[in-house]
């Protein structure tokens, strides 16, 4: 997928060896929330009920399912931001579930997340440049050597926006800023949680293209969480289909879409507007 010696997005060399290793290994992960229903008693809700998942370096893997299927609980747990009830999450060989305090905060840099609502994921009071500098200061050891201006140019943004605050830039620009913030930490894995659903169709296509470029340029692994099957089919090498906290189907994107085995997967594919996935073919 990535040839040896290629100079990546952040200007460092990526070796062949790295591109074959596993960046993510999830073993029988369970996340149980206790929610109050009508009664005063708290009822356990098994958001993630024994999920196994792995991602190789340089892979783009889709995670699909309707809302409430456990996608978000799973991705938050992988990013060390959510609760883990039992199971194991290994990122580049480190077990995230065992880390606490400072070492946990450092490990979080390994998995970066891009969120659904690009404006909501930026501090409204902080300039774009201020946000980038904050990360530089915090992770001075691992942060990219490129300047803020160079980083922005790589994601197709003008350095002129460094002095602006989030309300002064568009949704597409804000999402590129989020991607820059994530990428400057040189993470092993990028989790993109519905990164395009808040954007216009034309901007969606540009962001999808940017993810592709990132993968080719720096061998980045991406977990792409979405309910937009057309985009998943276009972008992802493999996909996991989740329902009620368990993975019901996984495998090559092509296989899943052409001959879905599980009835739920079939249902999801049938629910896509324009059943033949014309959207996907039109290049979105």
């Amino acid at each position: 997928m990535v040839s040896p010696g290629v100079v990546g997005f952040l200007g460092d060399k990526i070796s062949m060896e790295n591109s074959l290793s596993r960046v993510l290994d999830v073993e029988s992960l369970c996340v149980t929330h206790y929610v109050r229903r009508t009664s005063a008693r708290r009822v356990p809700l098994h958001a993630v009920a024994g999920v196994d998942m792995h991602i190789q370096s340089g892979e783009i893997v889709g995670l699909v399912g309707e809302s409430g299927s456990g996608k978000s609980s799973l991705s938050l747990a992988i990013a060390a931001l959510g609760k883990v009830t039992s199971g194991k999450i290994q990122v580049s060989g480190h077990d995230l579930t065992r880390l606490r305090g400072k070492s946990l905060r450092h490990a979080r840099a390994d998995v970066q997340m891009v969120f659904q609502d690009p404006h909501a994921s930026l501090d409204p009071r902080q300039t774009i440049g201020g946000g980038l500098n904050e990360i530089r200061k915090l992770h001075s050891g691992r942060v990219s050597k490129l300047t803020n201006e160079e980083l922005l140019l790589r994601v197709g943004l003008s350095p002129g926006i460094l002095d602006r605050v989030p309300s002064q830039i568009s949704g597409g620009q804000a999402q590129r800023v989020s991607i820059t913030r994530a990428m400057m930490l040189q993470p092993a894995l990028l989790i993109a949680d519905e990164p395009t659903s808040g954007l216009d169709a034309s901007v969606q296509a540009q962001i999808i293209d940017l993810f592709r470029t990132l993968r080719v340029d720096s061998g980045l692994s991406i977990l792409f969480v979405s309910h937009n099957l057309a985009v998943v089919r276009q972008l992802c090498d493999r996909a996991y289909v989740m329902k009620e906290g368990v993975v019901v189907e996984s495998g090559d994107t092509k296989t899943i879409f052409e001959s879905p085995k599980h009835s739920y997967t079939k249902l999801l594919i049938d629910a896509v507007p324009g059943k033949n996935l014309k959207l996907a073919e039109s290049g979105l």
Binding site: R105, R108, D123, P124, R125, S167
Partner: protein
């Protein structure tokens, strides 16, 4: 240019507020009855009363009196005190320093303790620490300050004999009234900070900040608190106005020579013009503090700044 127009609009609004407050003070204090009877005592003859009325201008029609009151205000003249025979401005000036001292110490205590307590409670929402802090805040807001003041006097002045029970002097005299007065801003600031923080902490940019590996302190105090600060700043401004225009109960309990006890005396003596002057002064303070707080909004929130410039 746009900022100029914005400022002009705000100043116009402030002026209208002042005139309304002054008018209200004028008419309500004239409803309270004739001050001349009280001033001369029960034995005064109708002739004496009529003479005093003519001397003070109370025999003129109400509208004329109102007109001259507003006219004096327009010339920054707060009038003469009926009782003390001094200018109201001089009376206010003689008490204002004591009020500023008391207010500042109480506000600093309230803000310096209230904000961190509110932040901590929001960070531990639903846990024991939150419940303890929230309950104490409700308690602090509900306790009548005169009762709390008396209890503190009982404990620290009478039983332990550590601190003086009243009057002004050195810093020791300030401790009990300031602590008593501080419970009000402390309880309100901590409650509002907790509420505003707990909303902000659910925002996605907070999760995003944690995802980048930011420490808890930085997330709470830099990102969340800055975004939750707008309502808290407004509240602090309002509290400041209330306390500066006279903490009536606390000043009475501790015989503190500030504007609050001046107001109590003025009412007791039916010193009509002094009451009016104090109300106008209070309204003036509120208007000035509000203008300042609104300017601060623009500094705290770039979105508001942008909206003003457009």
């Amino acid at each position: 240019m746009k900022f100029f127009r914005y400022t002009l609009k705000k100043l116009g609004g402030a002026l209208i507020t002042l005139v309304l407050a002054a008018s209200l003070a004028f008419f309500i204090s004239h409803l309270a009855g004739d001050p001349t009877v009280q001033m001369l005592g029960m034995s005064a003859t109708p002739e004496q009363i009529a003479e005093l009325k003519a001397e003070l201008g109370f025999d003129r029609p109400l509208v004329v009196q109102y007109g001259s009151f507003i006219n004096e205000l327009a010339h920054a003249d707060l009038g003469q005190s009926l009782y003390a025979g001094e200018s109201n401005f001089a009376l206010i000036q003689s008490r204002i320093w004591a009020s500023i001292q008391l207010t500042m110490v109480a506000m600093v205590l309230g803000v310096v303790l209230g904000i961190p307590l509110g932040v901590y409670a929001a960070a531990r929402e639903g846990r024991l620490a939150d419940r303890v802090i929230s309950s104490l805040a409700i308690l602090g807001q509900s306790i009548p300050v005169f009762w709390l003041g008396l209890m503190l006097v009982l404990l620290f002045s009478i039983t332990l004999n550590w601190l003086p029970a009243g009057l002004s002097g050195d810093w020791k005299n300030l401790v009990l009234p300031a602590v008593t007065l501080a419970t009000i801003p402390l309880a309100r600031v901590s409650r509002l900070t907790r509420a505003a923080m707990s909303n902000t902490l659910e925002d996605q940019f907070i999760t995003a900040a944690r995802a980048r590996g930011l420490g808890n302190k930085r997330v709470l105090f830099v990102h969340a608190l800055k975004n939750a600060s707008l309502p808290v700043v407004t509240l602090i401004g309002m509290q400041m106005g209330i306390l500066l225009s006279g903490a009536i109960t606390v000043e009475t309990v501790f015989a503190w020579p500030g504007l609050g006890s001046l107001a109590t005396q003025a009412v007791r003596n039916q010193d009509l013009t002094l009451v009016q002057a104090l109300v106008v002064y209070g309204a003036f303070l509120f208007v000035i503090i509000n203008l300042f707080v609104e300017l601060l909004y623009g500094v705290l929130d770039p979105r508001i700044r942008d909206a003003r410039q457009q």
